[in-house]
């Protein structure tokens, strides 16, 4: 049984969805971990869920980064532990320096809440191995600050290292400005670290894991982690 820790920060609001979604996977048992806890002993993977940790005060994820549990998350990641940050979780990973770059205000200033197509750019990761390269996934986004920014050199490193796992695209899988919802550089929706054990993405796979939710495409990511 793989044990999955879903971290709860004050203001997290996708924590219950994540626990539900991960618990629905065969061979996975998910549980909440409070942000003041300092140990992740016994867990096989860590989820930083979406929401508005600390009310998004100062910058999204800026204060959550200093929560006691984040020291444990950094140590967990440093020894190769699997960490996935979804939406606000992605913002926290960037603020923590566990992933490069930052998430800034959407180019059109709107809070965008809708299903978007995403192209799987690499299946060579523990987060996307159940998908195929080029596959288009229909998964919802829900954010006001999801515009991925990194300097050119970082973008080149991400590309060269096959670390861009998801890009925004149109329904036919074509990537371009018209299918980029938030102005993210290089149409980035999700990236991993050089060790390929830390993954951040703005879309919510846990909101696309049941036919009742309108899409089951998020399972491609969730099942990658279960396998």
């Amino acid at each position: 049984m793989k044990k999955c820790a879903v971290i709860r920060f004050p203001g997290s609001n996708c924590d219950q969805d994540c626990v539900l979604a991960f618990n629905s996977l065969p061979g996975v048992s998910a549980d909440f971990v409070w942000h003041k806890d300092s140990s992740l002993a016994g867990f096989d993977m860590v989820v930083l869920p979406g929401g508005f940790s600390y009310g998004d005060y100062l910058r999204c994820g800026a204060i959550a980064r200093f929560s006691p549990v984040m020291r444990a998350v950094r140590e967990f990641a440093a020894v190769g532990g699997t960490v996935i940050g979804i939406c606000n979780g992605f913002q926290i990973l960037c603020e923590s320096g566990l992933l490069p770059g930052a998430l800034v205000r959407n180019k059109n200033l709107h809070f965008i809440c809708k299903h978007v197509p995403l192209r799987v750019e690499s299946a060579e990761s523990r987060f996307t191995k159940a998908a195929t390269k080029g596959q288009v996934l229909n998964i919802p986004i829900a954010h006001g600050e999801g515009c991925y920014f990194a300097e050119d050199q970082i973008l080149a490193e991400l590309r060269d290292g096959d670390r861009i796992l998801l890009r925004y695209c149109d329904s036919a899988g074509r990537v371009g400005d018209s299918s980029n919802p938030n102005g993210s550089r290089d149409h980035i929706a999700g990236i991993c670290n050089a060790g390929r054990n830390v993954f951040g993405l703005m879309p919510h796979p846990e909101r696309a894991c049941d036919p009742m939710l309108g899409s089951t495409d998020g399972l491609a990511i969730l099942q990658s982690l279960a396998a």
């Binding site: 800026a62 200093f66 603020e95 800034v104 205000r105 515009c147 920014f149 102005g183």
Partner: protein, 75 residues
């Protein structure tokens, strides 16, 4: 003492808020509006003896994000 930390987006970072404000200024009829950038100003009360290095550390580690922002400290 009270210090003021001014945090501004780096020139290379998109500032859609600034662009929207620039557009609104034009709508008000002001001619020749150039680039508008929106940042934030943070006042912090501290003991006078607080070492400069610690103030910079807080400004760099928490109050700003060096990936996207520059900061300046004034006293």
């Amino acid at each position: 003492m009270k210090i003021v930390v001014t945090v501004m987006p780096k020139p290379s970072v998109l500032d859609p808020q600034g662009a929207a404000a620039a557009e609104a200024i034009r709508h008000l009829g002001l001619q020749g509006v150039g680039r508008v950038r929106i940042g934030k100003s943070i006042e912090v009360e501290l003991p006078d003896s607080t070492p400069e290095a610690e103030i910079h550390s807080v400004a760099r580690e928490l109050l700003s994000n060096p990936v996207i922002e520059d900061y300046e400290i004034s006293k």
